[in-house]
């Protein structure tokens, strides 16, 4: 690693101030960032650790019925504390990485980084959640802008994610065998007014909504309705772990399995 100073603010306001420094970079759980720093792929002058900000931690039910999760909440906490209200999300959180990673990694870090193979972006997009930052709220549909790209401005921090709680939901994941990240994973969220389907791991453009499947499932919520649907293999990632065609195929399989899981 290149050397850097570490700031450990206790409040969001202090964190924002610290991030105003040239070449400052926020770090939440560090489970992606620290390996990146080890590979010397980033060179911050100041690393602003968000792990000491209590106001960014916790899972609570908002007045509007949404499940509000602080950006600094670890995957392990989400897995435990969201289980009653939003089991689909808790199930996703419980299968990110491994236990030690889940004890450090946070939802805010995952959403801010927007790795094309990360798990959380699928839940955020499939529920139409709102990404809350230190100075605004961003709708999920506007937030994700391609691989590692988001609507966040320089120095902006994800302080909270507000999830509308679906009637039912399920996250189905096929892992890449080395990294254990999703090769393809699909989050299906069934709401009273429709169905949303988000896919991670598969696309060259990062997490995306599969609107054709959403429309079909909105009509009849069973896996047969999406059987004939396909995504374009040309848009899918092709690498040593699977071709675009294979990933496109898995998008269908994972979607159908998620629907079947919801229908029991």
């Amino acid at each position: 690693m290149y050397n850097f100073d570490v700031e450990r603010p206790k409040t969001v306001a202090d964190a924002v101030n610290a991030l105003a420094t040239d070449e400052a970079q926020p770090m939440s759980g560090g489970q992606t960032l620290i390996p990146t720093l080890k590979a010397r792929l980033a060179m911050p002058s100041v690393l602003v650790s968000l792990s000491g900000i209590d106001e960014m931690k916790g899972v609570r039910k908002g007045d509007d019925g949404r499940l509000c999760i602080g950006g600094g909440t670890t995957h392990a906490t989400v897995a435990a504390e969201a289980a009653a209200d939003f089991p689909g999300l808790a199930g996703l959180a419980a299968r990110i990485g491994d236990p030690a990673v889940r004890n450090r990694g946070t939802i805010g870090g995952s959403v801010a980084n927007n790795d094309p193979s990360a798990c959380y972006p699928a839940a955020v997009l499939a529920t139409g959640a709102t990404v809350v930052t230190n100075n605004r709220e961003i709708a999920a549909d506007d937030y994700f802008q391609g691989m590692f790209a988001t609507a966040l401005e320089e120095g902006e921090i994800v302080t909270e994610v507000k999830f509308p709680i679906p009637q039912a939901s399920h996250y189905e994941k096929h892992i890449q065998p080395a990294s254990r990240f999703p090769l393809v994973a699909v989050f299906v969220a069934k709401f009273a007014d429709g169905v949303r389907v988000a896919v991670t791991g598969a696309s060259e453009n990062g997490v995306f909504r599969w609107t054709e499947a959403e429309a079909a499932l909105g009509g009849a919520f069973n896996s047969d309705t999406v059987k004939g649907l396909t995504v374009d293999a040309a848009d899918m990632i092709s690498d040593l772990h699977g071709s675009g065609a294979y990933r496109a195929h898995l998008v269908g399989v994972m979607t159908r399995r998620a629907v079947d899981a919801i229908n029991g």
Partner: protein
């Protein structure tokens, strides 16, 4: 350099570290606790698992300054003061759950965290819990068996030796 102070295996430990100093480097190089190992640089292998405030973490993926004020437990603090192995350590020896020993500290620390949260895990739960701990020697058979035995469950159905 920043001063850090933490409790490690029940004793106060302090030192001066750079911002980039990892917790595992502080433990190994500053405190001489070389039982915690480094087997990769992508936060995958788990040879470096320690407990920070009672939770399993990868000491290679946490900065030392972030452990300032924390309560840290490492493999060196697991046996009793007289050297008696704890239940998990003893089960690893009894069931040949280690060969070269390099991944072992992380395995033992992960197993301890598992059994704290889930005292009677199923075999499948043990295997999934070890997703972040790679062993190249044992094929995991005897590690899983040792953890099941340490949980006090019947391991008669698991193939012998």
């Amino acid at each position: 350099m920043t001063q850090v102070k933490m409790t490690v295996n029940g004793k106060t430990a302090s030192g001066h570290v750079e911002g980039r100093t990892l917790l595992v480097q502080f433990l190994r190089e500053d405190l001489g606790l070389t039982g915690t190992h480094v087997g990769c640089d992508t936060s995958q292998c788990g040879a470096c698992v320690v407990h920070v405030n009672g939770q399993a973490v990868k000491a290679c993926s946490m900065l030392a300054v972030e452990a300032d004020g924390a309560d840290v437990a490492t493999i060196e603090g697991q046996a009793a003061a007289d050297g008696t192995l704890n239940t998990i350590q003893q089960a690893f020896q009894d069931h040949h759950g280690l060969q070269c020993g390099f991944c072992t500290p992380g395995m033992v620390m992960s197993a301890a965290a598992l059994l704290k949260d889930n005292p009677k895990p199923t075999v499948a739960e043990v295997r999934h819990y070890l997703d972040g701990n790679i062993c190249r020697c044992t094929g995991y058979h005897n590690i899983v068996k040792a953890i099941m035995a340490a949980s006090g469950q019947d391991i008669g159905a698991i193939a012998a030796e």
